[in-house]
Amino acid sequence: MLLAKVICVACMAQSVWFGVPVSAGSADRVIARAPSATGLVDLGVRGYLEGRYAQARDLLVKALSSKALDENRRMGALYYLACCHIALDDVPAARRVFAGLLKRRADYLLPAGTAPKIVRVFEKVKARLAARTSPRIEKHPQPEKIEPPLNPALENPASLPPGKKEPEKDHGSRWWIWALVGGVVAGVAVGLGVGLSGSGSDRGRAIINIKVKVIE
């Protein structure tokens, strides 16, 4: 009896770790005895690769329900679960799984060699999610002409009553232009002031040339 139990356990271990096909009954036993969620994922993946899609789907769903599953294994389980749904012609379910996968990792890339049918479903889901998350750009008709303000107070800020200020503009990135303009204007003012004061004073610019002419 003891020998028979040992042989049974050995067969089950072989089926789990070495890819030996397992029957539905033995799978139930494997599920029941699965030591961890990681083992369930491995069984589910193996079941998918061997064409046992429904069984693999159940194994993967059970594995994903475990919180102990690490992130990489979880991503792989989601991928194979979606593949199982597609293989079972349950595309809406596959879309939901892919959506959950992409919400976890938006830059997820399908493994190389993925079937085109699966790629199409994945790309549609990805495009739909991208459209939802990206800002919506709407085109507004451009106004034909911008009329100047009719209020003279808005045209002449000096006429604004005290307490009302013109809306401030962001000139922070243009400070060097204003500095340059201010420097030039100040230079002009100083130059003109000095020049005009010089020419307006009593110190003139006339020169008297005297030449002696001896006449007979």
Partner: protein, 145 residues
């Protein structure tokens, strides 16, 4: 504010500077004064001092300057004067003269080797110097009476 607006703001002062450089600085006014001296008198003269008086109500008049009794009253009140030493040069320049406002009178006084005044000359006319103008005048020297 874009770059075009900034450039406009730079162009305006540049134009102001250009205008000031072209029209704001008048050309130097020049007065050419010919000092006419008879040869006989010139041989006796050692120096001639040209006086530039700024007149007020036509004073000093020529008769006041040519009168040896009243001349000392105005000697030293001239705006500028320049001596011409015959043995060395026969030209002189009076510069830094106001080119607007004052009215001028020219007077010349000649001295012999001992520094004694022996001749003079006065222009009855009054002159105003306009900025950038060119004038000519003649000052004839005669022996003191």
């Amino acid at each position: 504010m874009n770059l075009a607006r900034a450039l406009k703001l730079l162009v305006v002062p540049a134009l102001v500077l250009f205008g000031a450089g072209c029209g704001g600085q008048p050309e130097t006014a020049t007065v050419s004064a010919g000092l006419l001296i008879p040869r006989g008198l010139a041989e006796q003269l050692s120096t001639v001092t040209v006086y530039l008086f700024e007149t007020h109500t036509n004073r000093p008049r020529c008769d006041e300057l040519e009168n040896t009794a009243t001349f000392p009253t105005y000697d030293g009140q001239e705006y500028k004067k320049v001596p011409i030493i015959f043995s060395n040069v026969q030209t002189a320049v009076i510069d830094d003269i106001p080119d607007k406002g004052p009215v001028w009178r020219f007077y010349a006084r000649g001295f012999d080797d001992t520094g004694t005044p022996i001749a003079d000359g006065c222009d009855d006319g009054l002159y105003t110097i306009e900025p950038g103008s060119e004038m000519q005048l003649t000052l004839e020297i005669t022996a003191l009476q």
